[in-house]
Amino acid sequence: MEKIIMAKTGNESMAEAMRQINPDVVAAYPITPATEVVQIFSSFVADGLVDTELVLAESEHSALSACVGAAAAGGRVMTSTASQGLALMHEVLFIAAGLRLPIVICEVNRSLSGPINIHCDHSDTMASRDSGWIQIYSENSQEAYDNTIQAMKIAEKAFLPAIVSVDAFIISHSMERLEVLPDNEVQKFIGEHKKPYDLLDVDNPITLGGLDLQDFFFEHKRGEIEAMKEAKPIIIEVGKEYGEKFGTTYGFFEEYMMEDADFAIIALGSTAGTTKVVVDSLRKKGMKVGLFKIRVFRPFPFEEIKKALEHIKVIAVLDRVDGMSSFGSPVFHEIRSCLYESETKPVITNYIYGLGGRDIFPKEIEGVYKELEEIAEKGKVKNLINYLGVRE
């Protein structure tokens, strides 16, 4: 099969994947820095390249509500947003997940106000982490493209909605080499649209969104929780099939030089790419360092992560979001919590970095690895929770 090599930004890559998926409905309210996704997709609609009904709503709340309606009616549905947009969708996120609707959001990770900012951090998707949506983080444009295609298939197999995200500007607006699959291969891969039920099936009428009080709400939520667990093997299966067909296999996480590593950094998104450069340079100097990149944060693959990290001596979790007085930030406390179950209990520290799009440099990451080495030598952690790259 011939892949087409293109130069595309993260936003363009996700829009391209959306074109190839050719959803029945896209309802959106474009927002910086994800504006281009909808803008480019709307040109596909105008040019007749897709069969999509494009609904330009008056807000993100309405956009996702329209998506819920369209998906409940049996359509294949996608949208795109970022930051405040995802925040405005917040209550509808829970509804989409509760109704088990396989909607896919192409999301660009941007800081939540205030103060107002348009650049990258993970406060938006992390604020939605317990909404019942599958969350897939992408390191670069290629992953954004691959993840979008896989997310559609995963969502329709698990009957759960999914968010695919990329880092604002760093990826969303940076042009990179992109391998694009032929249109028909994408269609073949995602297959015929599957729906959990059909609101328009008049012979079998159903009611959705009924008042669900003390006597049934808990049972419905319990079923939704189980669906998240059941999504795990689906994600692995889809990632494997993607690899068999197109060359790159995807899992819950990527392990870079982790096999014999003593010191590991855990990161999500574009920082994983920067960290790989640092790992390469420190390895040349003989330091046993590795990178553990989390791709799937929801459902959280705790057993797999525990197993993968048990042999590491000291770990640093880089969080591009702060937990605002929680004990460390979201990725840190989930990793730490699952390692509590391990026999070896590696030492684990937290570095909060890059809020509001503050750049992170290889030198800073190198400094983190050095600190991990120091912790191993002294057998003592100076600060469990650290702030990287902020002026004192």
Binding site: G98, R100, Y197, L208, F216, H220, E226
Partner: protein
């Protein structure tokens, strides 16, 4: 026995039309209306005003209250022109 989570259809669907009839909202009531049929003139004002369609009527005559769905709002007692409906505390068991 109500269904457990493993038995429920996906996505909170309600697959049976009119199933709200099975949801007895009468247990929300703290006071219940009682009709004094000696004074009732079957004007049906209570039937008109009842927001829950919980006044039972047969052949144009009031026959009683549907306690499965009456929430005890007391509108019937308030509107009754003959004061033939009185509200009684559920706590008193009457």
């Amino acid at each position: 026995m109500k269904k457990g989570w493993k038995e429920l259809p996906i996505g909170t669907q309600i697959t049976k039309p009119g199933s709200s009839e099975e949801f007895k909202t009468g247990d929300w009531r703290t006071e219940k209306p009682v009709i004094d049929f000696d004074n009732c003139i079957h004007c049906l004002i209570c039937w008109v005003y009842c927001p829950d369609s919980s006044v039972n009527v047969s052949d144009g005559k009031v026959t009683g209250i549907d306690y499965d769905f009456c929430k005890g709002c007391g509108i019937c007692a308030e509107e009754c022109p003959k004061d033939a409906i009185s509200m009684h505390s559920e706590a008193e068991g009457e």
